[in-house]
Symmetry: C2
Subunit: 345 residues, 2 copies
């Protein structure tokens, strides 16, 4: 029998709160037999939600328990305020459980800034990592591409970009089972004005390392399947991610408009419905939910604020995989090896 995996879930986080976290948790318990969950939040409310969703059986079987927390971090709370004033928030308590070894990973759909600040404060970064980064899988023509940083850092230095590359490479190697993930550095295509100083220097560091560095890539390469890990500053990565969401929404909007234009187009839409549904499943953002906060001494997964139960269950899946693969330990080892290698040159 596989070892048990215990994950703490910030049950109050996200736009939908308990309406998403509890159904998501129950779905994950059904799907992953090795999983035990701790739902953190207002005990009465969480228990009520579990009962409503028909989850009492898991409570009785001991696979699910509720840990009380008296506060909630709001989606617009400043990270500093959450850190100072909300020491008994569901988010903080869920992360504390990882620190205390009572859970092996934490999942939260709460405010990203607060989650990052709290996780960093409670868990600390790995040796050699200056700043944690946010990584997620983005669909590509051939599968997916892992992109980091997606907004934890602005004004990343060359050294930061190098650390992101190491973390992304380790994650892709472990989770996607790739021997030597192809790592690309996001840049723009104009000659001479190519890149800023940080990107150019990071390019030098990466080219001199034993990572499988393939050089500069551009914004459209993320989707081509020709690169496994794309490294960028958080400002750029966040804009790129939001651009992707915006384009996808606009295209969906236009498609709907065209198919509902008149009775004839509606009929065509009806006939094409199974195909359109298969298409939609393929680009369903819920399937890609669960961003990793990398560089910490522990596993923390950020679920999208608007995630529903299906999406949250996917984020829990990501957490379980990272537990099985001991991602933080692997990053630690790989970074140490690469820095030793650099000093030896």
């Amino acid at each position: 029998m596989a070892d048990r995996v215990v994950i703490s879930v910030d049950a109050m986080g996200g736009d939908l709160g308990l309406q998403a976290t509890v159904p998501g948790a129950l779905r994950a318990l059904d799907a992953r037999p090795e999983l035990d969950l701790v739902l953190v939040g207002d005990e009465t409310l969480v228990r009520e939600a579990i009962e409503r969703s028909g989850g009492l059986v898991h409570l009785e079987a001991g696979r699910l328990r509720v840990q009380h927390a008296s506060q909630v971090v709001a989606m617009d709370d400043l990270p500093s305020r959450a850190l100072r004033m909300k020491k008994d928030s569901s988010m903080r308590v869920a992360i504390n459980l990882v620190k205390q070894g009572e859970a092996q990973a934490c999942v939260s759909a709460g405010n990203t800034g607060a989650l990052m600040a709290t996780a960093r404060y409670v868990l600390k970064t790995l040796p050699g990592i200056d700043r944690p980064a946010i990584l997620t899988a983005i669909p590509s023509i051939k599968g997916h591409t892992r992109v980091l940083d997606l907004g934890a850092n602005v004004d990343s230095s060359a050294e930061h970009l190098f650390q992101f590359a190491v973390m992304g490479s380790v994650l892709a190697s472990a989770v996607d089972g790739l021997q030597a993930p192809r790592v690309g550095l996001l840049n723009i295509g104009e000659e001479e004005i190519k890149g800023n100083d940080q990107v150019k220097e990071a390019n030098r560091l990466l080219a001199a390392s034993s990572l499988n560095y393939i050089g500069y890539v551009e914004g459209d390469d993320v989707f081509s399947g020709e690169v496994d890990v794309v490294v960028c500053d958080g400002f750029v990565g966040n804009v790129s991610l939001k651009t992707m969401e915006g384009v996808a929404k606009m295209i969906a909007h236009f498609m709907k408009e065209e198919f509902t234009r008149n009775p004839l187009t509606r009929l065509a839409g009806l006939i094409a419905l199974p195909v359109l549904r298969a298409f939609r499943r393929r680009v369903d953002p819920r399937r890609y939910n669960g961003a990793s906060l990398l560089g910490l001494r522990g596993i923390v997964i950020k679920s999208h604020g608007g995630a529903d139960g299906l999406a949250l269950a996917n984020a829990i899946d990501v957490a379980i995989d990272e537990v099985h693969l001991a991602v933080p330990q692997r990053i630690d080892h790989q970074l140490e090896a690469l820095l030793t290698e650099r000093q030896a040159v």
Copy 2:
């Protein structure tokens, strides 16, 4: 009768060269009666291409003339090399015609870096403009959004971002006929770690100006139709534009795969074809071809390197509109007014 508009076209530029520029030029002449064109390039080759495309009638009518240039800027020529070594390139001569007053605007599908460097060297920037910027219209749910800079500048300062905002606002006001275009500054959504110093300072400058500044926007807002002009550093803008292209291509690829999966889905695709075609027309990037190099003492329009005739004709359309609306003069006046206003505070 409307005044004649004379546009010079770099006939050798772009991936397709004469195969795209000559048909594009003829298409534009047919569509815009006020237009005269100067095609710049190897005289023999250009004349042959005109003859092949049935354009002799325009040559004879005097609406089209050929200006010889002995060199061509390659798509991978370094801007500095193009500037120093290719003084008789079709690109350079086409821009010279604007400088000399023989054309009122220039269109080129050549290498962006070389075009920007040459245009800046030959035409110079407007007073008060430190760096020209590249602007294009990007489709949105409600029409389009104008975004700049798209790659002419990296590491833009707050003052540069402010100048971009003025240029974008003037262009949207003139070309889209908007009284007070809504200007947004591209940023990321995380509180506290929000933005870098340049963006924060630009936010202050814009908020204090009489532009219709609506504050920070995120990557997905470009497509929502809630903002008319989005201002950003060229690195970020270029990545965002390429991301958009990449997502659109990936979605088209998935759609095609789903509709060609088996005979049944093929049939559904056949029935849905008119709708899918209407949809494709709507997001056809050729309709958005023609990026403006703003901040120069003259009008220069960059056509996409891969543009075909239809796309190139669209870029010529953009040039004609900017001539009619005297865009550089308007930018000059507006910038002067805003800087005077700032000093008066």
